[in-house]
């Protein structure tokens, strides 16, 4: 039971990060029906910028929370600039092109951003300096009960705050009204005096700033950043957005949390479920293997990255509109 709660906590933390990244995907998709493959790379650049700032300021004697805040504040404008630039340079000229063209452009942008990051930050795993003292809090009375760390709490709180801020922005401000109008019908929105280009740029920038914050969170959670980290993260977040129903903000959050949970529980339990050593008595050939490695399972925690994709494929096959998607996508 303790393990279960522990995996639940880990999964929720991870899910919060996925949810924030998925929001960036789903916003862009909602407004121009483009899968912005490069969004994962924006997250990566956010983490990298935060890494640079934190490393530079680690020895300065400033309070750690303040340093992380500064790092986030540095990452946001950089990512916004990246988001704006890619929309302006790559996607805007292709807005009326066939659908595959911007998609492939997005892949190209993603490769370019990866290699720019490779040139700036090297190909090594960059480990974040441990400036924040990790503190674990037990969720029960016994020593073996599940724990939650202060970083995990911070990630969850920040994510929830970001989601609330985003919802407020979309449903309470003029900008939000303009965004919703554009996503429903760009032509008519334009006729109503909304500057579509500004709205789309803003969407990219808001998505990118969410990505920046997610990058800082991922970096501080795993303590490591790498120029390829955005690819898998982006793909999983996209799976989350599809799971929830792409274009739907609540769906992105739900999908993110579910993907996080599936991944954590899959990593925690699939190893035990697929342990083949119970076959030892019945089938030949297992004895030597199981002696050397009694936990020899078919799918250990090293397969955790697979579950998100399996979920993605299942969702697309059985319910392409996603869990909360009200419109059945004419694309699927």
């Amino acid at each position: 039971m303790d393990t279960f709660i522990q995996q639940l906590i880990n999964g929720l933390t991870l899910g919060c990060v996925y949810a924030v990244v998925a929001l960036g995907y789903t916003m862009v998709y909602g407004i121009i029906q483009l899968i912005n493959f490069a969004h994962g790379e924006v997250v990566m650049i956010g983490a990298m910028v935060a890494f640079s700032v934190i490393t530079a300021l680690a020895g300065s004697g400033m309070p750690p929370v303040f340093i992380v805040l500064l790092a986030t504040l540095a990452a946001i404008p950089v990512c916004m600039a990246v988001g704006y630039t890619m929309e302006r340079v790559a996607y805007r000229p292709l807005r009326s092109a066939p659908r595959l063209a911007p998609l492939i452009t997005a892949i190209g942008i993603s490769i370019i951003l990866q290699h720019v990051a490779l040139m700036i930050w090297s190909r090594n795993n960059l480990s974040f300096p441990q400036i924040i003292q990790l503190q674990s809090y037990h969720l029960g009375s016994s020593e073996t009960s599940a724990t939650i760390t202060n970083v995990q709490i911070a990630i969850m709180v920040t994510s929830i705050a970001m989601m609330a801020a985003l919802l407020a922005l979309i449903y309470k401000t003029r900008m939000g009204i303009a965004m919703r109008a554009t996503s429903q019908n760009p032509q008519v929105a334009g006729l109503m005096g909304i500057n579509i280009n500004t709205v789309i740029s803003m969407t990219f920038m808001i998505g990118a700033s969410l990505g920046a914050i997610a990058g800082v969170m991922v970096g501080s959670y795993y303590g490591i950043a790498n120029y390829t980290m955005g690819f898998l993260l982006g793909l999983k977040a996209f799976s989350a957005a599809v799971l929830g129903g792409i274009g739907n903000l609540g769906g992105a959050v739900l999908g993110g949390l579910l993907i996080g949970l599936i991944e954590a529980l899959g990593a925690g339990y699939m190893g035990d479920i697929t342990n083949v050593c119970f076959l030892n008595g019945f089938l030949p050939g297992f004895s030597t293997m199981c002696e050397t490695n009694p936990n020899g399972s078919l799918f250990g925690s090293n397969y955790k990255d697979v579950y998100a994709f399996i979920v993605l494929i299942l969702v697309l096959v059985f319910r392409p509109s996603g869990l909360l998607g009200e419109r059945v996508g004419d694309r699927a």
Binding site: I111, L235, V306, I310, L312, V317
Partner: protein, 286 residues
């Protein structure tokens, strides 16, 4: 001189073809003077041509954006690596592995195709991308509990191709003339490339392909393409058909790897070139 005069004047056309042929035959020897590395790069270029030709069947003819192309490439590479290396102690000849690899790649093609071919456009792209990732992760992890792929370390010391008594691994001496393994691979790859190109042209003009292309022309308005009736079945066939072409470069690539600088074996190589395939997708469609 424009293309019309080229093709309308058969003499000129054959002259052009002869020029290209002479240039292609002379190329590796000229490059070898500058260093064998250049020949090797050319070989990789041909490999990429093969990959793009295979991808062209799926993306170009059928209009399915398949980003999981890498997976089939990896399957082909691994089939060769497993059946012709000391890893399992198997040393099957190359021509025998070719159909096996094609068959297994087809199985994977059906595996991917059956659930996903009702999807279109960007959704298909995403699913195939996910499929590619799944295959990559599996290749990376299938070393435990039963060691199949040797994990991230990959499979090394893969056999070189031996055809009709000719070993492509080392150099051959013909009189005073030494033909290095890399140059032999060049001609081998060139021959395969020509065969694949011919097959591609034949395919392009076949009845089935013309119908598929009709679908493809509608592809920018996919819904219209689907109304074209049997498009799904056609697509699926195309999917299966596309892949034998793909697995081939995979096998060849493991081949090329063998005389490479021993940097990690088939898997990493597959991954590296798999990335390359992603680039070639981008290049092709640009």
């Amino acid at each position: 001189m424009n293309a019309a005069t080229w093709s309308s004047n058969p003499r000129l056309k054959w002259f052009g073809i002869a020029c290209v042929a002479v240039a292609l035959i002379a190329l590796p020897f000229v490059l070898a003077m500058a260093g064998t590395a250049w020949v090797r790069i050319t070989n990789f270029a041909i490999l990429f041509v093969l990959l793009s030709l295979g991808l062209n069947i799926v993306v170009g003819f059928a209009g399915l954006l398949d980003l999981g192309y890498i997976a089939f490439y990896a399957v082909g590479a691994y089939v060769y690596a497993l059946l012709a290396s000391p890893h399992f102690g198997l040393h099957l000849p190359w021509w025998m592995i070719l159909p096996i690899g094609a068959f297994i790649a087809c199985v994977f093609g059906i595996l991917l195709g059956s659930p996903t071919l009702k999807l279109r456009g960007d959704y298909l792209a995403i699913v195939t991308l996910g499929f590619g990732e799944i295959v990559r992760i599996f290749m990376n992890n299938l070393s435990d509990p039963i060691n199949i792929t040797n994990g991230p370390k990959g499979i090394s010391t893969i056999d070189s191709i031996k055809l009709a008594g000719l070993d492509f691994g080392g150099s051959t001496r013909i009189g005073d003339f030494v033909l290095s393994g890399t140059i032999k691979y060049y001609f081998f790859l060139l021959a395969i490339m020509l065969i694949v190109i011919v097959i591609n042209f034949r395919l392009q003009n076949s009845r089935r392909a013309r119908r598929t292309r009709n679908g493809h022309q509608h592809h920018s308005h996919e819904t219209a393409g689907v109304c074209h009736g049997r498009i799904f079945r056609r697509h699926r066939r195309r999917h299966v058909l596309g892949h034998p072409g793909i697995h081939q470069p995979g096998e060849l690539c493991t081949q090329r790897k063998r005389d490479g600088a021993g940097d990690g074996g088939a898997r990493r190589h597959g991954q590296y070139l798999g990335r390359g395939a992603r680039c070639s997708i981008a290049l092709f469609c640009a």
